[in-house]
Amino acid sequence: MSETRIKGWSRTEMAARAAADIPEGWAVNLGIGLPTLIANYVPAEREVMFHSENGVLGVGPAPDAGAEDIWLINAGKQPITLRPGASIVGQADSFGIIRGGHLDLCVLGGYEVAANGDLANWSTGKPGEAPAVGGAMDLGAGAKRVWVLMEHTTRDGRPKLVERCAYPLTALGSVTRIYTDLAVIDVTKQGFLLRDCAPGASHADVQVKTGATLHRQ
């Protein structure tokens, strides 16, 4: 296998790739950070109900500078707008939406995803550093589908798709799809299943950077 340097998808391309797979009508929660970018690539005419766990259904685009409403933020504490059709609920109802399986999808960032769908994305377990979980465990356990949007490997090249998570778990067996800079991978009963590769990347290229068997369709 030749060691060609594969460029892979950029962060915005990853977000756009995931956005393309979200059909109209879904209720979708986008995690803090990279997943938040997805909203930028869902055109307004394809109506998706974006949920924010602090009690919003119907998050709209970011406000113009100077037009922020101090009463409107998302889970990442960034200013937001509401789109027509938006609604506000309290925190128990917002997590009732999550835990009750009413979200068609949530897209989270990840430290590691295991071949059985286990997700680790909340703690690196560093001693002396306060852990913080937010809504990650509720989202991981509650949404109908959990997609993860993350780089395929760590900065020092270790796989983030693994046989078994080493980091503390967020949720058990809940991830159904992973979008990375290199590939789109489903998590099936058989394990990781390659669905799509970044331009120039082959199954073998992706397998070598993946810590578990990567099945082919």
Binding site: E24, E45, L57, L82, A86, D93, G96, I98, G100
Partner: protein, 223 residues
Amino acid sequence: MIDKFVPDIDAALEGIGDGATIMVGGFGAVGQPHALVDALGERGLRDLTIIANNAGGDFGGLPKLIAQGAIRKVICSYPRASGKTAFDALYAQDRIELELVPQGTLAERIRAAGAGIPAFFTPTGAGTQLAEGKEIRIINGRPCILETALAAEFALIEAWEADRWGNLTYRRTGRNFNPLMASAATLTIALAHRKRELGAIDPDAVITPGLFVDRIFIAETTS
């Protein structure tokens, strides 16, 4: 474009068949979607399980459906009404099952189903006949009963305003069980009295966010 409005009651009720488990909103007659329930009665269905607060009454809707013999089992808090009802007659003849649930426990079980809480402890009913056969645990010195979430395949509810995303408001005591049931059914069908443009309902005033609602039938009323 998301558009949950349906043109007629047939489209609203599509897919409800024999043996279905159906929640019906309302406290007595108020907040009960009579037109939906009456139309359901015309379908000649059998073996339905109904989850509702009341089963008796001298109005149409649910009492009429019971009289039509469509219902195998009722899960409710108050099957009686002043005066003899169709439910009473069927019950006396052992032709209808009753699961009696304290009203607050009924509401909480439905809410739990909607909110993804599979079971909870409650002090309500501890030490009574309605606790028989249930798990009891002393919590903070008080006996409590373990109760489980109560879901349904369908919910028939009544709302006041609706928009095409399914956002709903309710009117006064017409609210009652309706928002809970909207959250606890696989398919939620709302009868609403006012059709609103998307964005016309203040986001702070929405009681049932649109994601809980599948179909909306606008009733032709002037009330």
